[in-house]
């Protein structure tokens, strides 16, 4: 079973490349990282200094041990003179303490830089997502938005916290040790460094192989996660349709693919780690042999031989760890790429450069030769002209895909038109600052998302300074006051916990209250009553009559019951307005879209 169940999808390649892309050298990742680190330039310079001191102190210890053996012992043997030894031991003690202090400062400073960068990235990414248009969010899906802000940010931190340290220490150790070995004894040092090419070859092989295996593993784990989350999220359908066995079959398949991918990754490490150890041990043995002969000949001292052995241990240890943080670099690099990609996206509806200040918003909406297309060459609105006088209530009807929702999204500036202008009180919406526009135009959709917090918080969402009396006035007008006070904690009921039992209709009423309290000049309702049952809908209708008074309103509905409160009905088809008039006029006008719909509606009531 090779995944026929998954089906074919166009986005496949692109999406998988995005979610499990190997590091792209010189891509957006490097640039973003530089950008993030620039403000910490000074701190980084200090960090480099600290790390140099620390490594110097660390590397000096075996050398001092050698000195202790070679120059500390003979005076004791010869004349019981402890002073040279004590002096050297004091130096070792000093080096040890210096290393400790430097190490501590390094860890704290490194952590501070990492955390600061993390805070910057988080805030910046969150703000950027908030600035991006709903059109972007439609395509990008919430799952990806969230993983950008969680797992990707974590991956970057992981790198800053452990990877950096590991890499810097490994590099300094390699260079420093090599230098000291050559200094201690050129010949023996050169012999020891013969291991270099082998190490380079092995590390290079591992780097390439693990990049490949990392990518495969990410792909496989993504499959496991998607299948797992979807079958748990849709468990009702799974159980109702006895899907368990087939699901188990699919899950076992992806689970096993993941296992196989992991096995490859583990086995790479199983080769790499002992490989490094083998090179290290062979080097030690060679040094021991060759050094032994040289010591035997008196060319090197026992202390030098001891120092060599100690240094070689230090030399290979960080190499083993490279395999640990190599994956860290991989995922951080991929994460940086993805974040850089997101941050590069310009908001689809930019803020005006020279905003026009609106005085009191009257609420006149005008569409001036508006053209709009989601995809090039497939216009949804070919050329729309419409003027809605301030205070008028408009009902938009028409079949699915006629362009009603698009019109609403243009009126709220969720999108900008591809041609023509949308004007509020005669001002092009692109010239109005977004917060001014948002307080003037509010849309309520079927999607009645409630935020964590109390019911009152949610109603106040658009006007945080509203008093409790304002809140109650809004809910009372909508007939929502009674059910809210009947909840265990009334207006203080937590939406996330006890509020879990709010029905779709009740949530919608809260969403309505939220919109009414915000008191916009223009209110847009996109299918906003369709999830209400008839009594609630009737309640909302009745409330709408009072609430819409003095406001411009655009109501989109596929049920005609909503239409009755409208001053004017627009029937849309293929992005054009085909009928326009008061409800009574259109019914009276005889055969037409509206009168047909109206007749069908009347029949459905019978």
């Amino acid at each position: 079973m090779s995944g026929g169940w998954r089906g074919v999808a166009e986005v496949d390649a692109a999406e998988e490349a995005d979610e499990a892309r190997p590091a792209r050298p010189g891509g957006g990742s490097g640039q973003l990282l530089r950008q993030l680190l620039v403000p910490h330039k000074r701190a980084l310079q200090v960090l480099v200094l600290v790390v140099l001191v620390e490594n110097a102190a660390r590397l000096s210890i075996p050398y001092l041990v050698k000195e202790g053996i070679d120059t500390g012992i003979p005076p004791i043997q010869q004349r019981d003179d402890l002073r040279p030894l004590v002096l050297i031991v004091c130096l070792v003690l000093g080096a040890t303490l210096l290393q400790a202090v430097a190490r501590n400062r390094f860890l704290v400073r490194q952590g501070a830089i990492g955390q600061d960068v993390l805070l910057t990235v988080r805030s910046r990414v969150f703000r950027h997502f908030q600035a991006l248009s709903p059109a972007f969010h439609d395509d990008y899906t919430t799952g990806r938005v969230i993983s950008r802000q969680t797992s990707d940010v974590d991956a970057i931190y992981e790198m800053l916290e452990t990877g950096f340290d590991g890499l810097v220490t490994a590099a300094l150790t390699l260079v420093g040790t090599a230098g000291i070995l050559l200094f201690l004894d050129l010949e023996l040092g050169l012999v020891a460094l013969l291991c270099g090419p082998f190490l380079a070859w092995l590390t290079n092989w591992f780097r390439k192989a693990s990049a490949q295996s990392y990518r495969v593993t990410r792909e496989k784990v993504a499959l496991v996660i998607v299948h797992f989350v979807e079958s748990m999220g849709g468990i009702r359908a799974v159980q109702a349709f006895r899907r368990e066995a087939r699901n188990q079959e699919i899950f076992d398949d992806v689970n096993d693919q993941y296992r196989a991918a992991n096995l490859v990754a583990f086995r790479l490490v199983a080769w790499f780690m002992p490989g490094i150890r083998l090179i290290g041990n062979v080097t030690i043995a060679v040094v021991l042999l060759y050094g032994g002969y040289r010591a035997y000949n008196g060319d090197v001292t026992v202390g030098v031989l001891a120092a060599f052995l100690l240094y070689l241990r230090q030399f290979f240890e960080p190499m083993m760890e490279i395999s640990q943080f190599y994956n860290t670099f991989q995922s951080a690099s991929a994460a940086l790429d993805k974040l850089a990609g997101v941050l590069e996206v310009e908001p689809g509806v930019p803020e005006p450069r020279h905003p026009v200040e609106l005085q009191r918003v009257q609420g006149e909406l005008r569409f001036d030769h508006v053209r709009f297309a989601y995809e090039e060459g497939r216009p949804v609105l070919p050329d729309l002209g419409l003027t809605v006088p301030a205070g008028q209530t408009i009902a938009l009807v028409g079949t699915t895909g006629a362009g009603k929702t698009t019109l609403a999204k243009l009126a709220t500036r969720f999108y900008d038109p591809s041609g023509g202008r949308v004007l509020l009180d005669g001002v092009d919406m692109r010239d109005i600052r977004s917060d001014a526009l948002r307080s003037a135009v509010v849309m309520v959709t079927q999607e009645n998302y409630l935020f964590s917090g109390t019911i009152a918080d949610n109603i106040r969402f658009g006007r945080p300074d509203a008093t409790m009396a304002d809140v109650v006035r809004a809910t009372t007008a909508l007939g929502a006051h009674d059910f809210i006070t009947a909840m265990p904690s009334g207006y203080e009921t937590d939406v996330a916990n006890q509020g879990g039992r709010l029905s779709a209709g009740q949530r919608q009423l809260v969403a309505f209250a939220r919109a009414f309290l915000a008191d916009p000049a223009v209110l847009i309702l996109d299918e906003a009553t369709s999830s209400l049952d008839i009594p609630s809908e009737r309640l909302v209708q009745r409330a709408l009559r009072t609430v819409l008074a003095g406001r411009t309103a655009l109501i989109i509905a596929h049920r005609l019951s909503t239409v009755e409160i409208a001053d004017r009905v627009l029937v849309m088809e293929h992005g054009r307005i085909v009928e326009d008039g008061t409800p009574a006029e259109l019914v009276a006008a005889g055969p037409g879209h509206f009168s047909d719909l109206h007749r069908a509606w009347l029949e459905s009531l019978a």
């Binding site: 998954r6 089906g7 041990v65 202790g68 500390g72 005076p75 004791i76 030894l85 040890t96 860890l107 952590g111 955390q115 805030s123 703000r127 908030q130 969010h137 919430t142 802000q149 797992f228 979807e230 079958s231 748990m232 468990i235 009702r236 359908a237 159980q239 109702a240 006895r242 188990q248 076992d252 689970n255 096995l263 583990f266 490490v269 199983a270 002992p274 150890r277 041990n281 030690i284 042999l289 010591a295 026992v302 031989l305 001891a306 100690l310 699915t400 917060d435 849309m443 658009g462 029905s503 969403a511 369709s530 209400l532 049952d533 008839i534 009594p535 596929h558 019951s561 069908a600 009531l605």
Partner: protein
């Protein structure tokens, strides 16, 4: 009244997803069964690792022999054999590491994969009462994070716990025997390290959990910012949300810095203590060599050996933290393994099902609110082939009523029967093959359209699929880029609410059930499409028992009879027209507003 296995679960024990289950060594011990198939591998790993320890001690001893023997005594003939011995031991050590890792990778992944299999299997068995409280994200972190914590411990942690203790003990003994005063210094140095590790681990767990919780809050805010983006945009509250997020991010920053400082202190001490021991050993050792108590070779071997102890001792803290993590993870997994599916199938089969559904004195309350019954004393009889519509206000329990038939939930009183058999006595897959539901908010999986459609009957033929698509007016599937093979759902092509509902309906029709439940399935369709679907549905419902939840008069007209659900019980049953004329509450629910000032509706249309 019902079989014992399916007897009414008074309070099905659904664990609380937000509480931490008590964890301990026993949690891990209970999962030992997963290691059983890998016992030979584990034995091999342990042997290889112990061999590695012996070699780690052996190589410095060879060095010592070399320094004290051939070099000190100026005998060149001893150098080659000792050097070759060091080489051989070194190669052997690498081979042993390779062997351990090679065997280990297979075994630990086997353990993890098996646990994930079992977890998934159990989760699929657990009923809605469980899943309605546990979100898929919470379950996912068990299937991924927790399982890898256990894998890490069972593969690396457990082994190294044993190995490190063995290595530390063995090396200390060797050191003590070599020159006991220095040996004592080394042994003494180990004490503060172990003590520090344990103390650190405790503090670290506390601070880590706080960071984790705060990161969880932050993730929730990310989620709200993403899911609620349209509302946020609508009200222009982006800046407010960003500030809120930043505040939370700052809190995480503060706690994380505390964590950074804590671990910086720990790691510093961890390196300082062995280095201080080196200072002491060097001082005393050099004096010892000077005065002849110790050979130079012994001193070198001594220092090498004691440096080789740093990692095993220091990592004890990390391993203990790993063990703690694994115990918590094991407890979290066991919590799910221990949840007994409250809904288990019976053994009976109906050989010639006719689809006669009866609700007899049915009561229902949610397990977390047993005192607030949603349904009480519901009685309803659906004769074979009949279609009954259930009408009631929002929140009146209509959906739950329909969910009782395929046992997505179980009654808390009374019983539901099909052809006279209590549904709780029926084999569960059999029962669910008799009943199919088209849900209002249909779940589409990220799979091919075909896979989504044939959810209830994998072996449906092309003709059956085509016929079902026609009934549900979902022929648009044929026009998708790859037809039935097009991937839909979150990871594939996105469909409109109406399209999804029509697929859900087709899915239910393909299952060819005796009882078809339509839970407000047509709510997102426009009037025109709804009409076409209803005409086709009438044919399907002609010989199928139908239970239809309806909000609109148009849907009610599919039914032969209507049941009115009020205050948790069925108050009236009759035809649509009967109820419309005789029951004001019914008219209130289904008749659209007809007000006197409305000139749109000609007089007399309401009845």
């Amino acid at each position: 009244m019902s079989s014992s296995s399916a007897s009414t679960p008074a309070t099905p024990d659904v664990p609380d997803p937000d509480s931490q289950p008590p964890a301990g060594v026993h949690s891990l011990w209970r999962l030992r069964g997963y290691l059983r198939p890998h016992v030979p591998a584990l034995a091999l790993m342990l042997t290889a690792a112990l061999g590695g320890v012996a070699l780690a001690i052996g190589i410095p001893l060879v060095t010592k022999a070399l320094i004290d023997g051939p070099i000190a005594r100026h005998e060149s003939d001893g150098i080659l054999p000792l050097g070759l011995l060091a080489l051989a031991l070194g190669v052997l050590e690498a081979v042993l590491i390779w062997l351990r890792r090679w065997v280990q990778s297979n075994a630990v992944l086997g353990v993890e994969t098996a646990m994930r299999h079992d977890l998934y299997e159990r989760l699929q068995q657990l009923p809605m009462s469980f899943h309605s409280r546990w979100q898929s994200g919470q379950l996912l972190s068990r299937a991924t994070t927790d399982l890898s914590a256990i894998r890490r411990f069972s593969g690396f942690g457990m082994l190294f716990l044993v190995i490190n203790i063995v290595q530390v003990t063995a090396t200390t003994i060797v050191l003590l025997r070599m020159f006991w005063p220095l040996g004592l210094v080394v042994a003494a140095a180990a004490v503060p390290i172990v003590w520090l590790s344990m103390r650190f681990e405790k503090q670290y767990v506390v601070v880590s959990r706080r960071v984790q919780d705060e990161q969880g809050d932050l993730a929730t805010l990310s989620e709200e910012g993403a899911v609620g983006i349209r509302v946020i945009k609508s009200f222009g509250r982006g800046a407010h949300m960003s500030e809120q997020y930043e505040r939370a991010a700052r809190t995480v920053h503060g706690t994380s810095m505390a964590k950074v400082r804590l671990s910086a202190r720990f790691w510093t001490f961890l390196e300082v203590i062995p280095n201080l021991a080196v200072v002491v050993v060097l001082l005393l050792g050099a004096i010892g060599v000077g005065r002849g108590y110790l050979t130079p070779g012994e001193l070198v071997a001594f220092i090498t050996l004691m440096l080789s102890l740093v990692w095993p001792v220091a990592s004890l803290g990390v391993i203990l933290a790993m063990a703690q993590e694994a115990m918590t993870a094991a407890a979290r997994i066991l919590e799910i393994f221990d949840t007994v599916p409250a809904i288990r199938g019976g053994e009976r089969f109906i050989e010639h099902p006719r689809g006669h559904v009866r609700f007899e004195h049915v009561d229902f309350a949610f397990p977390d609110a047993p005192d607030e019954p949603v349904l009480r004393d519901v009685n309803l009889d659906l004769t074979p082939g009949e279609t009954v519509a259930v009408v009631g206000a929002t929140g009146s329990g209509k959906t739950i009523l329909t969910a009782l038939v395929p046992r997505l939930w179980d009654v808390t009183g009374g019983r539901v029967t099909i052809d006279g058999v209590d549904v709780r006595d029926l084999d569960l897959p059999h029962l669910r093959s008799l009943v199919a539901t088209a849900f209002e908010d249909p779940t589409l999986f990220s799979m091919s359209a075909r896979e989504n459609l044939t959810l209830g009957r994998v072996d449906a033929t092309e003709e059956e699929i085509a016929a079902a698509l026609e009934v549900s007016q979902a022929q648009f599937v044929h026009d998708l880029p790859w037809g039935l093979d097009t991937r839909i759902g979150e990871q594939g092509l996105s469909l409109s609410g109406g399209q999804r509902q029509r697929l859900a309906l087709a899915r239910a029709v393909i299952a060819r059930p005796q009882v078809l439940v339509l839970d407000d399935t047509l709510s997102a369709l426009d009037v025109h499409t709804e009409k076409l679907v209803e005409e086709a549905l009438r044919r399907v419902l002609a010989d199928t028992t139908g239970l239809v939840v309806a909000h609109r008069a148009s849907t009610v007209l599919l039914a032969d009879r209507v049941a009115l659900l009020q205050g948790g019980t069925i108050t009236h049953v009759g035809s649509h027209r009967e109820l419309l004329t005789t029951v004001p509450a019914y008219k209130e629910l289904l008749a659209a507003e007809v007000e006197d000032d409305l000139d749109l509706v000609p007089a007399g249309v309401e009845a």
